[in-house]
Symmetry: D2
Subunit: 246 residues, 4 copies
């Protein structure tokens, strides 16, 4: 069965900003979906902010293996109920790939427990992304570094928990560095944060960026039949002697 991927896009810039529309005539989610299709047989659904339940109903989430998140200008408009549902689904095993300005989304901050603040600058910076974990599955098919000719700069300090695995670090012309490819384990779910993707640059047409996102989706997929821990009060293993025969 194909991996079921839901791409969530705020979908506001594309409606208001000519530059963005020119770069992404099928919207940001369209370009992200196209990129995925180049690298596998994914079963893709689009969800956007202005749909009922922000497009992320209980049912939609139940049928999502990995959720990709792109948001920027309207983080506050995402309903708290939506954030609750997504958090619960991640802890239950759904993968989450957070892109670029999604660092400030309610859901990412909720899962991190920190502000996710950073430095930023829209300028003429070139971004060069270095692989620091060359054995990581998300690096399949990648060169040792790749460049994005023009991107918004994000700089440290990035106020996040120490990543469980640090995969990539960005260099920017202006003198900044940034931890830009980050793995987290939360509950039974896995989260990847990937920095690039400002809406006024053609980043989601970049072949290496597309490959990274596809790899991340594969890495973040839930186990088919993993352990399902039991929580709460338990005398399941009483009396002590003998311990359960199994």
């Amino acid at each position: 069965m194909s991996l079921r991927v839901t791409i969530w896009n705020e979908h506001r810039h594309e409606l208001k900003n000519e530059t963005v529309r020119a770069l992404y005539p099928q919207a940001l989610h369209g370009a992200i979906a196209d990129g995925l299709r180049e690298h596998g047989d994914f079963d893709i659904t689009i969800a956007t902010l202005d749909e009922p339940c922000n497009g992320l109903s209980e049912e939609r989430l139940a049928n999502t293996d990995v959720l990709i998140w792109w948001g920027h200008t309207a983080h506050k408009e995402v309903l708290d109920d939506t954030v609750d549902r997504v958090q619960q689904r991640v802890l239950d095993g759904m993968g989450l790939v957070v892109l670029h300005s999604g660092h400030h989304s309610k859901i990412f901050r909720r899962l991190m427990g920190t502000t996710a603040n950073l430095k930023w600058r829209e300028s003429t910076d070139k971004e060069r992304i270095w692989i620091v974990s060359p054995n990581h599955p998300i690096c399949e098919g990648l060169p040792e570094y790749f460049e994005i000719e023009r991107e918004e700069m994000y700089g440290e300090h990035f106020d996040i928990p120490d990543p469980d695995e640090l995969v990539m670090v960005s260099w920017f012309t202006g003198g900044e560095i940034f931890r830009s490819g980050l793995c987290y384990h939360r509950g039974r779910g896995r989260i990847f944060y990937f920095r690039p993707g400002h809406e006024t640059y053609p980043t989601y047409h970049h072949p290496v960026v597309r490959k990274v996102i596809a790899n991340a989706v594969n890495w973040a997929r839930p186990l088919c039949n993993g352990p399902r821990p039991v929580y709460g009060l338990g005398f399941w293993n009483k009396p002590l002697e003998p311990l359960p025969a199994e």
Copy 2:
């Protein structure tokens, strides 16, 4: 200057339960404070749930270097505003030592981003706590393991982020293990979770438990003069040449 420690205690069991009162005539916070005093010259303040602002006003937090948290039966009564203030102070550098059933406190779950669920059983279990990081400052003065004759059992899976440092693991008679001494870095603050301390056992009179808590307070203390990252939009380093003189 002495380290300024605030011990926050829910302070409900002691008022209602004779057993708890007999074990802790000065309340749980009293025993924790006594334990600290055995190991250093701490400037200790007590704060409890039923005080205004849950005892944790902006001013009190501003004058706290490390906050110890004990809560159990009334997590829901802690005001969300209190949780917001404490989280902000931790991210700004205040240390936080979360004890036992505090794993389910709003503040710990907020900072972790997970449910912090676990297995538990009040029974006749002995707990034996093993040190797995013998070079860690929190292990100063400790043996390679120590025992608590009777304690509530907490068992895995413990639904928390992978700790930044795993210091201790508990063994229980009934067949469970538990990651019971855990370090986290969040923002400019440091968090230690320490498992033991059910209210119906004399755990906070245990000499090794007292030593661990004192060590944890020292470990979690804020830097005197650490880096203070700047966040947000910045053109501070443009034009590129020359870079800031420093």
Copy 3:
């Protein structure tokens, strides 16, 4: 193409000890191979200590994706040249799954940089292994814990680097715990240490143990086409000046 797995076995106990021979009539490597075959289409080769080059020639290693290592009584007889070759291959991307008493093998100690010392006892201990990372690929198909009726005890402190991912922790009847499922990243290779498997117990016939080893082999496999970092002196991105100037 099938994953190419080489099972390295010291192969001494089976020749000398009737109990071991009775438990493992096809030798330990035979049982490990059988276990793998239950869970996938692996291309399996056996290599043993007393073969030329310890069975691990340059060519054999070049044709191995993942190496499984079982050794116990003859660690010192492994040639240093063999250790050099295996280390180099791991750093170049070959996966390594180290079983049980392999913790004291030259190759594991070489890759860890520590003594890998631990406590041990051959007794009547039951081992109960708890999953602490339920989202890890090595936990696919596993219950939240599993038991081995009788096993040699290994206890902490285990003198190893903090694992990059801690997947499993063992409980033993006698009062010990042990970090027993451990992931490491070294160079372009991935290493999994898995505790169970003393030669005088039927551990490698245990269905969950077999599943774990098969999962570990899959997890440790090299990337097909990962980044190949260049090392050493480099002016590859010269002239410098055009880059920063923009």
Copy 4:
């Protein structure tokens, strides 16, 4: 009692190279020692390659709390016996601060288990070092970044184990980044690798570099009275049966 610091210096460049001698008239170890003295009351000893036992006798190591290591051109001349002794002392609790080209020293590679290879270039690069762990004790008194006007470039991929804590990341003019402040825990010892310090630049006169090294020495100091794990065969908690039976 003052912390006992031994500064080990290869001490070859200073004897052969006029530039180095001009920058470091008291040798590299002299400048490093001066830097320490600015930040605390350390009891400092110098040891160099050409002394008997490479200056690191059993007795000298036994009387060292933290060892600083600077080597570059003569790594191969360090005796294997010296490496054995230093490794053992680190595992027994001595701190180790490895500077710059010490990444390729026998002792660092031994403790890491990897090649510690990297990219390098002697050029006109400026280095800007960013703090990514602002709550770390090694960052006491530091700004959020600091610059070294001219330094040798070191670039990723740096072939090392994932650090237990990543404290600093360097940016270089030429387009590279480097993980340049790294904490490791090994045995009962603690290791800090700090990148800057090429012999032809005045780096060890830089006030922030000096502060970092002093902080690192403090961080790496052994516990006064930490756990001393027992290893090997043990029936110390026998008879087993009374324990589980309760």
